[in-house]
Symmetry: C2
Subunit: 237 residues, 2 copies
Amino acid sequence: MVYRLWYWPTIQGRGEFVRLALEAAGIPYEDCARTQGAEAMMQDLAARAKTGRGPYAPPYLALDGHAIAQVANILHYLGQQHDLAPSGLADRYWLDQLQLTIADIVAEVHNVHHPVAMMDYYDDQKPEAARAAAQFRDERLPKYLDHFEAAAAQGAGDWLFADRWTYGDTSLFQLVEGLRYMFPQRMKTLAPRYPALLRLHAAVADLPGIRAYLASERRLPFNTDGIFRHYPELDAA
Amino acid sequence: MVYRLWYWPTIQGRGEFVRLALEAAGIPYEDCARTQGAEAMMQDLAARAKTGRGPYAPPYLALDGHAIAQVANILHYLGQQHDLAPSGLADRYWLDQLQLTIADIVAEVHNVHHPVAMMDYYDDQKPEAARAAAQFRDERLPKYLDHFEAAAAQGAGDWLFADRWTYGDTSLFQLVEGLRYMFPQRMKTLAPRYPALLRLHAAVADLPGIRAYLASERRLPFNTDGIFRHYPELDAA
């Protein structure tokens, strides 16, 4: 079966966490809005909304008769279906806890460039964004990265779980990628504090499926329409 | 077994979504920081952080040898252990999707009163909060409530799933409670648009476990330290 993934076709955004797990595992999928257009996605979403069980927002995975939305929920499903998660109960809940904490920092990252008006442009809230960015860089970011460093360090090898990668690893990879793009100066300063997390990041980058994906046109470049946005004025060492 | 729930002892906050599911199901639990104090929770958190698998933040459920954090993850666990979730696969993923969308609006609600500096006081960001509140009331809130209304309306009876309540229902109840406290004028204006959601809210309030809980001292009152905060200047019809 070829999965049908729906997400905005011009950004990495939240959909990238799903794309990376699929690519790392070599699971066939159609990135539907890239092949059929964003307009087709809006129509598909509207039709699903009428059932009362539609996604609130992309990304979502269209299955026979229903769709699964919310990144952590999609990854949980793929983990179950394709053995991309550990088998022990405590491990599985810890993995999903970590994935949800990644979702939390991703929401805070979006809030940095859209602090007071999510539906308006960044240009309409630049002073507020500058203030939000300062506290994010100085307080929130190190607090989250300390947490993820400890998570990476407790694994015996390169991965969160000693013997294999899971979607927690590909998601931490993407988080580091996004933060490096958005805050290059700050991440350079902080890097020495996070050896285990950066080792994990390098190990994911070296997975055959990820290597092939990153070299392909399927990997969209970061840009200032996505979640992670590089505005130089929001970065500092 | 008596569950040990850890959450801030003076607010409803995110912990309340867990408390409500436990109370509705009549599952025994100790609300540990209320019996042992917040300081004991900080010590417990610090000890767990050292293992590399600690919660990023409360609430969390302490089990033998590990803890489960993140509201949606805790509720998923309780749902599995205590039959508080539907049995079909599509239903279960849809329930978790809905719970995660509730988590999203809860984060946006917090952002309304802390738009530019999550670690500072509301008093330090009142103009920014006023702007964030206006867009939340006018655009984000109705969009979310439309989504939850459709979810409530697709059930055949009062519940999300025709024959029984789940943690999705208790969570929607709490969302409505919090929004009514925070935005009484706005919610009064919007109420006629959401008959199914308000029917679900009333049905949850009438569950024996919830009736007893709401009448007890275990139910903390809303206040301006929690997630939902009533600042009259942030509300409008």
